[in-house]
Amino acid sequence: MEISRWLRENTFHHSAFRDMDELVRAKEKAGVTISLCIPTLNEEKTIGKEIVIFKSELMNRHPVLDEIAVIDSGSSDATREVAASFGADVYLSADILPHMGTKRGKGENLWKAIYQLRGDIIVYIDADIKNIRPRFVYGLVAPLLFRPEIRYVKAFYDRPLVVGHGVRPSGGGRVTEILVRPLFSLFFPELTALMQPLSGEYAVRREVLENIPFPIGYGVETSHLIDVYHKWGLEAFGQTDLDRRVHRNQSTRDLGKMAFVILHTFLDRVRSLGILGDLPELGHVLRQFQVHDDIFEPLEYEMIREERPPMIEVPEYRHKRGLD
C-alpha cells in the first residue's frame, strides 16, 4: 500500500469520533466487546484519575467499554488499592497463568491481559498520562469499529501534518527519531508512516493479539509493528492523532536502555524473517559511563530480553476460549 494513500485513508484525528452515540451504535452493529487494559507499576498518583475518567465517560455515560482492568506488575505503592477503590478490575500479573512464571516488564502485563480480559478488542493505555481524557480510548477504538479491515490502531500526539498554514515535525520521541525511524527507513520503509511507533497507547483486535509473540520489555511495540506488518501488511494499521500527551520525561540514560532493547528486538526480528543474513550472537550487556571526581566509571546493565509466545499457543488460553 502506498504510504501517501495510507496516510490519507488510515490516519485519523480523534475529533472525528467524538459523537459517542454514533460510536456506541457502531459498536453494537459490529457486535464486539471492548476491554481497557492499563498496565501498572507504582502508579498510585495517576491511576485513580484515569479510571474515574474512563469509567464515567466510557462506561456510565456511554457504554463503549465493557471492562476496565489494571494489570499490575507488583507495585510497592497503593496502585492496586487505588484502582480497586474506583471500581477497576485489578489483577496481579503473577496471578495470571501462574504456572508460566512471572517476568518483569510491561510486555508481560500486555500479554497476560489477552488471557485475562474478555474483549474482542483490547485497548492499552499507559497509566502515567497526566492529561488523560476519553479521547485516548475512543480515538483508538473507533477506527476498528468503523473500518473492519483495520486491525491495529496506534496513537500519536501533536499534529505532525500540515496544520493551517504551517508544517510541524513528526513529534516522535528521541528514541523514535534517532533509532527506530532510521531502522524502519532501512528495512521497512512503509512503517515509517507511523508517526510515533513507540507510543504506549494502541487498540488491537484479539485475533491479532493472540497470534503474535510478546517481548516482555521495551521491544514490545517494535516487535508488534514488524509482526503485524509481516502478517497483514500496512493496511492493517491505523493511527490516530490524540493531540497532546503529558507524561513523565525519561532520562537519557533510561532512553539508552530502551534503545538497546529495541535494537536487540529489531535485529532478532530481521534475522528470523531472513532479511539479514548471519549475525553474531547478540550480547545482553549495555555499557554506560558516568564521571565521578574526574574518573570515568563504567556501568554495566544486564538487559535480559525475553519473549512470550503467541497466546494462541498456550493450552490454557485455547481451553478458556474454546479453541481446542
Binding site: K49, V52, S56
Partner: protein, 389 residues
C-alpha cells in the same frame, strides 16, 4: 412543620446514599473542568466545556450570554417557579500554573478544585443526579456558570444576567466547593481596591538614601493598620497581596497593595474608604512618589433574615444530615441576588483545605452529604417551603 417538608427531610439519608451513583461522573467533571485554566476574564474554555456537558445531557436550552456566562435549563413540570443554581467559573490561578488534578481515594488535589471547580462540577452533574434520584422538579432549574466573579470581575457575569434576563427568579442558590456547613444568607458591605506606588526609574543622587516604592507602600500599610475599627458593626480590613520590585539590589520602582474593607454597615466602609484616600494623598505628598488608589469592586450589605424560611429550611436540612451550620457572611455571588431583592443562600459541598494554594484539596466522602443537602434545598424551594412573606 409542613408534612411534605418532613417528607423531604425524611428522604435525605436515602439521597445521600443514592448520590454515590454519580461519583465517577462528578469526579470526571471535576478533573475535566478543573484542568481548564479559567482566570477571571478568560473563562471561555471552561464555560464552553460546561455547555458541552449540558448539551450531552440532553438539556434543551444551553447557551452563552453576551458576557460569557454559560447556562443549561432543566425545564420543570409546571415551570411556575424558576430556581437559579449558580457557581462561579473563574479562579485566581492564571494559565501559567500546572492545573493537573490528582484523584486519590479520599481526595482531589489541584489548583482551584475547591474554589470553585467542584461547584461547577456539581452543576454539570446535576442532570445526572436528578435523573438517578428520580426527581423531577416542578420549577425550572437554571444552571449557570458565572463568569467575571472574582477580583476585578466584581460579579459582572451574575449581575449582567440578573439585570437582563426576563425570567423572574424565585430563589438563588450559590454553590461553593467548600466548606460544607457554610450558610451565607447575608452580604457584607465591601470595598475592594488597590494602591499602586511608582517612583522614577532614573537614579537620582539628590535623593540618595531614598528607599523606593516598597517602603512607600509599607508606610501606607502602617497607616492603614492604625485606622481604628469599630467592634460593632463588625468591620475588618484585609490586606490581600503585596507585589513590588524585581531583584535584590535594585530599588523597587513599583509596588502594589491590594485590599478589601468589609463591614456590616455601609457607612463604616465609606468612612474607612475616606480615611484611606487621605492616607494615600498624604503619603504621596510626603514621599514625592506617585501613589494612587483605585477602587475595583463594591458590595452593598444586606441579606435575608435569619428567620427567613429559606434560611430556616436550609438549617433544618443541614441539621437532619448531621451538618453543623456556620452562618458566614459572603462577599460573593450572594450580594448580586440581595441587591435585587431575590432570596438566596450560599452553601458549601464538602470539606477541604489549602484553599487558594496550588495543592488546594477537597475530600470526596463528604461530597455526597453536600449533594443531599443541595437536593433537599432545591426540593424545599420547589415545594414552596422557602417562600418569604
Amino acid at each position: 412543620m409542613a408534612p411534605r417538608f418532613e417528607r423531604i427531610l425524611g428522604r435525605l439519608e436515602e439521597i445521600r446514599e443514592r448520590s454515590q451513583a454519580v461519583r465517577e461522573v462528578l469526579l470526571a467533571n471535576l478533573v475535566m473542568i478543573g484542568e481548564i485554566p479559567s482566570p477571571t476574564f478568560r473563562e471561555e474554555r471552561r464555560i464552553g466545556f460546561l455547555e458541552e456537558r449540558f448539551s450531552e445531557c440532553g438539556l434543551a436550552d444551553c447557551s452563552t450570554d453576551e458576557v460569557g456566562n454559560g447556562f443549561g435549563l432543566l425545564p420543570g413540570s409546571d415551570g411556575a417557579r424558576n430556581i437559579l443554581l449558580v457557581a462561579h467559573a473563574d479562579t485566581p490561578f492564571s494559565e501559567k500554573y500546572d492545573h493537573t488534578i490528582a484523584i486519590h481515594p479520599d481526595r482531589a488535589v489541584g489548583p482551584g478544585v475547591a474554589d470553585n471547580s467542584l461547584g461547577l462540577a456539581v452543576l454539570a452533574a446535576m442532570p445526572h443526579l436528578l435523573e438517578s434520584l428520580d426527581i423531577k422538579l416542578k420549577a425550572n432549574l437554571i444552571l449557570m456558570g458565572a463568569v467575571r466573579s472574582l477580583g476585578r470581575g466584581d460579579l459582572e457575569g451574575l449581575r449582567f444576567f440578573l439585570d437582563h434576563n426576563r425570567i423572574p427568579i424565585t430563589a438563588g442558590v450559590c454553590v461553593e466547593g467548600v466548606q460544607i456547613g457554610r450558610l451565607s444568607i447575608g452580604s457584607l458591605g465591601m470595598l475592594r481596591g488597590q494602591i499602586a506606588c511608582s517612583v522614577p526609574e532614573e537614579y537620582d543622587w539628590t535623593r540618595f538614601g531614598a528607599v523606593g516604592a516598597i517602603l512607600t507602600i509599607n508606610e501606607v500599610i502602617n497607616r492603614i493598620m492604625a485606622i481604628a475599627l469599630p467592634k460593632k458593626p463588625r468591620t475588618t480590613i484585609v490586606l490581600g497581596s503585596v507585589e513590588g520590585g524585581t531583584s535584590f539590589g535594585a530599588i523597587a520602582t513599583h509596588a502594589v497593595l491590594r485590599f478589601e474593607i468589609r463591614s456590616e454597615e455601609e457607612s463604616v466602609v465609606e468612612d474607612i474608604h475616606q480615611q484611606i484616600e487621605d492616607i494615600v494623598a498624604e503619603v504621596a505628598a510626603k514621599s514625592g512618589s506617585d501613589v494612587r488608589l483605585e477602587i475595583v469592586a463594591r458590595r452593598q450589605p444586606g441579606g435575608i433574615p435569619f428567620s427567613h424560611p429559606l434560611a430556616r429550611r436550609t438549617r433544618q436540612i443541614m441539621s437532619r444530615l448531621g451538618i453543623t451550620h456556620r452562618i458566614a457572611p459572603s462577599t460573593s455571588e450572594l450580594s448580586a441576588f440581595i441587591g435585587r431583592g431575590i432570596p438566596a443562600v450560599t452553601i458549601g459541598i464538602t470539606t477541604g483545605e489549602h484553599v487558594s494554594e496550588v495543592d488546594e484539596t477537597v475530600f470526596i466522602d463528604p461530597i455526597f452529604t453536600g449533594l443531599a443537602q443541595l437536593i433537599g434545598l432545591l426540593e424545599a424551594i420547589d415545594g414552596g417551603f422557602c417562600d418569604g412573606d
